[in-house]
């Protein structure tokens, strides 16, 4: 149990956490804007991973040279991002939009329904058995020492996740769309009455959340190397937990929550044991929520008088 071992576990936790955070952003953005827990988000990412696997096979990336591999990975991220984004918008248009003025439970139950539909599509697409995702990146250690290793896979997570998160923050803070998104999340009626096209802003939010999820699906495939039609459920649950832990509706909160959960998972499986991981993660979640019900970075919601 050396320092190096500890650092290694932290590193694994942080990369895993960054991946969880990318998924959690999709949950938190949609919740922030229409107050819907989009249970279908995890399964959307599973479909993205299915597309990524099909594309890897179709493009023959498993046998490509290094340049072609990197180009291929970038292409995968863009294509899967567009696929998941478009699919997410389509679901919003077809399922959630007609229920906009319905009680909150109606879209929630519909989201669970969509989740099952996606899961069946995935079952149909790749079958019921787990499928191996080709190892496109070498697992050689980039650090000149024993005991602590960073591979291209870990770097890939950082290379993809950090710019996406910076871009998202800039988009929300600086641009007109971001202002409109914040306005809609606070008061839809007031926003639409001053001329903001609320449906378009919501569609944009779904697209961005879906795009991030699509990127996450590619990284998931490359990093974990196994996909199956049920990965959406488990990973979606962890990501949703991260979003709640960080304060659902808050973008930095989702990132922080993802990193915390990633760290807790890797450290508890290293020092306590794999079989305790889930229990420890959720026990910590409960403890944090008892003392900060609004999440780590969430705002206390004001009661409307």
């Amino acid at each position: 149990m050396s320092v190096q071992f500890f650092l290694q576990q932290c590193l694994i936790g942080l990369t895993n956490g960054a991946l969880i955070a990318l998924v959690a952003l999709g949950y938190t953005m949609v919740y922030g804007i229409i107050g819907l827990i989009n249970f279908a988000h995890g399964d959307l990412i599973m479909l993205g991973a299915c597309l990524a696997l099909s594309l890897v096979t179709a493009l023959g990336l498993a046998t490509a040279g290094p340049t072609a591999t990197w180009l291929g990975i970038s292409l995968l991220i863009v294509l899967c991002g567009l696929f998941c984004g478009t699919l997410n918008v389509a679901v919003d248009r077809l399922v959630y939009k007609p229920l906009r003025s319905a009680p909150k439970l109606a879209p929630l139950v519909s989201a669970i329904g969509v989740s099952f539909i996606f899961m069946n599509m995935g079952l149909f697409w790749i079958g019921s058995a787990d499928r191996a995702f080709p190892e496109l990146l070498p697992s050689t250690n980039l650090l000149p020492m024993e005991g602590l290793q960073i591979t291209w896979k870990d770097l890939l997570v950082v290379i993809v996740v950090v710019p996406l998160m910076v871009g998202l923050t800039l988009l929300v803070q600086m641009t007109r769309l971001g202002k409109a998104m914040r306005a809609v999340s606070q008061d839809q009626t007031a926003a639409s009455l001053v001329g903001v096209d609320v449906d378009r802003v919501i569609a944009a939010t779904f697209f961005i959340g879906g795009f991030l999820g699509g990127a996450a699906s590619v990284i998931y495939g490359l990093y974990i190397n196994t996909i199956g039609f049920q990965i959406g459920f488990q990973n979606g649950l962890y990501a949703f937990t991260a979003a709640v832990l960080g304060g659902i509706g808050s973008i930095p909160g989702a990132v922080l929550g993802g990193l915390v959960i990633g760290l807790v998972r890797s450290l508890s499986s290293a020092y306590v044991g794999e079989r305790w991981t889930g229990a420890i993660v959720f026990a910590i979640l409960i403890v944090i929520l008892v003392f900060r019900p609004e999440g780590l970075l969430g705002r206390r919601t004001k009661e409307k008088v």
Partner: protein, 452 residues
């Protein structure tokens, strides 16, 4: 690229044309709103002339705010109409609506058809067989197999070192051969028999061609005898699947299109359509974006005037940058107009009450609206603030913006209004100049009771 000024000449010209041709800017015609059995507004007629200030007064619960909500598109009226500049404020049936409905219809149709033709076997016929026999997957190949499935054509399938002649969905095994060439030639002959059955409608099954086929099967390698009724069953089953598929496509298409149009119809009157047509409003209980800054609040009102799509925003295209800059200037101008220019960077929720009201007015003004609905702007203000507010309302009018006002402070109403309409229990009981309304007995009765 220059932004449309807040009060564009074109818009003003349209409004002036409307005014000179006798159409009022806002024409509320026999508007009724019912919530269940409760009648909130009953047959309200109201004309608002361009460039005027019209007040809507009445005791609490008279239906004033409901009328406002109806005009601004939050509620749909139960009966009657609201016209602005002679137009009904509804989403128009655009080409995109049509194509959207068609697209959803097609998608639903395909889903229904897929369910009806048994998508699992279709999948087997089109994708999986190619994988089993090691044929490379090409679009053309998949199309050919898809056609084969619907035409009840036959396929070759590999199984334990032998080659089987099977129906496209792989369910009917017709013959088994040891080598591929034999299987192929048998398949071709059987295929000819199937095609003959398909192309000759109503013909009695001809046994001679099948007898031919049967002779060609060398005893040893033929494991299954080919019977005539197998082919008939195959053809009949496929005809059924084709019929079911077309029926599913058609039914799904109708349902999807009709459903989309029904949903669209329900959302025709939406608040942002009304806002983009040129009506903006404030609220009785202030509804600012309270965690955003004062300037950002006004900028949200200018949202639709800024050009540039998502990529323009992400990469700060020159058009987008100029648009944002111009919008910022307009927002500052609107803040100056209400006297909040110095507060631009404060968080809106931290402003004092009166300033929040003025910020809401600035946000409404900034949208470039030609009609502004003010819902009790002077609520909770002291006399000096009320006086200031009356001045502000008059200055809005002086910019060429028409104002429809709900107010309880009679000194404001009497000072600024060109016309006053009085509502009581959802019914308009009087309308006229402030002086006329003040003398009206019905109004006095409504406010003070019948004995006064």
């Amino acid at each position: 690229m220059k932004l449309k000024p807040l009060f564009s000449k074109a818009a003003n010209a349209a409004a002036i044309r409307a005014a000179s041709s006798g159409t009022p800017l806002l024409d509320v015609d026999r508007l009724s709103v019912r919530f269940g059995g409760l009648v909130a507004v009953s047959e309200l007629d109201l004309d608002v002339a361009q460039g005027s200030i019209v007040s809507l007064i009445g005791p609490n619960g008279a239906g004033k705010t409901t009328a406002f909500n109806c005009i601004s598109g939050i509620y749909a009226p139960s009966a009657g109409s609201v016209r602005f500049e002679g137009r009904r404020l509804e989403r128009s049936f655009a080409a995109s609506t049509f194509w959207g409905a068609m697209g959803v219809g097609l998608l639903t149709g395909l889903l229904f058809a897929a369910a009806a033709v048994d998508v699992d076997r279709l999948w087997l016929a089109v994708i999986k067989r190619g994988m089993i026999t090691g044929e490379p997957f090409t679009i053309a190949g998949a199309q050919a197999r898809l056609r084969g499935y619907f035409r009840a054509e036959l396929a070759i399938d590999q199984m334990a070192g032998k080659w089987r002649v099977v129906s496209a969905d792989g369910l009917d095994v017709l013959a088994i051969k040891r080598n591929l060439a034999d299987a192929n030639s048998l398949r071709d002959d059987l295929q000819a028999a199937v095609t003959a059955r398909r192309t000759g409608p109503g013909t009695v099954p001809d046994t001679s061609d099948l007898a031919d086929v049967a002779q060609k099967i060398p005893g040893q390698s033929s494991v299954l005898p080919v019977k005539e009724d197998v082919l008939d069953r195959l053809a009949a089953g496929k005809a059924r699947i084709r019929r079911r598929g077309w029926l599913g496509l058609f039914a799904g298409w109708i349902l999807g299109t009709a459903g989309t149009i029904a949903v669209w119809q329900r959302g025709r009157r939406s608040a942002h359509v009304v806002a983009q047509a040129g009506i903006s409003r404030t609220f009785q209980n202030i509804r600012l974006f309270s965690t955003m800054t004062v300037l950002e609040n006004v900028l949200v009102g200018l949202d639709r005037s800024i050009p540039g799509g998502v990529f323009g925003m992400l990469f700060r295209s020159p058009t987008n940058r100029r648009g944002e800059k111009a919008a910022r200037e307009q927002a500052i101008e609107a803040l100056k107009f209400v006297g909040l220019a110095a507060e631009g960077n404060r968080i809106a929720g931290q402003l004092p009450y009166g300033d929040q009201r003025r910020l809401e007015i600035a946000r409404a003004v900034a949208t470039g609206a030609r009609l502004i609905l003010l819902d009790e702007p002077a609520a909770g203000m002291n006399p000096s603030e009320t006086g200031e507010l009356a001045g502000l309302v008059e200055r809005i009018r002086d910019r060429g913006v028409t104002v429809l006002l709900i107010e309880h402070h009679m000194n404001v109403v009497m000072r600024v209004s060109d016309r006053v309409a009085v509502l009581d229990h959802g019914v308009k009981i009087a309308e006229g100049t402030p002086a006329e309304v003040k003398r009206n007995e019905k109004v006095i009765e409504a406010y003070l009771g019948p004995d006064a």
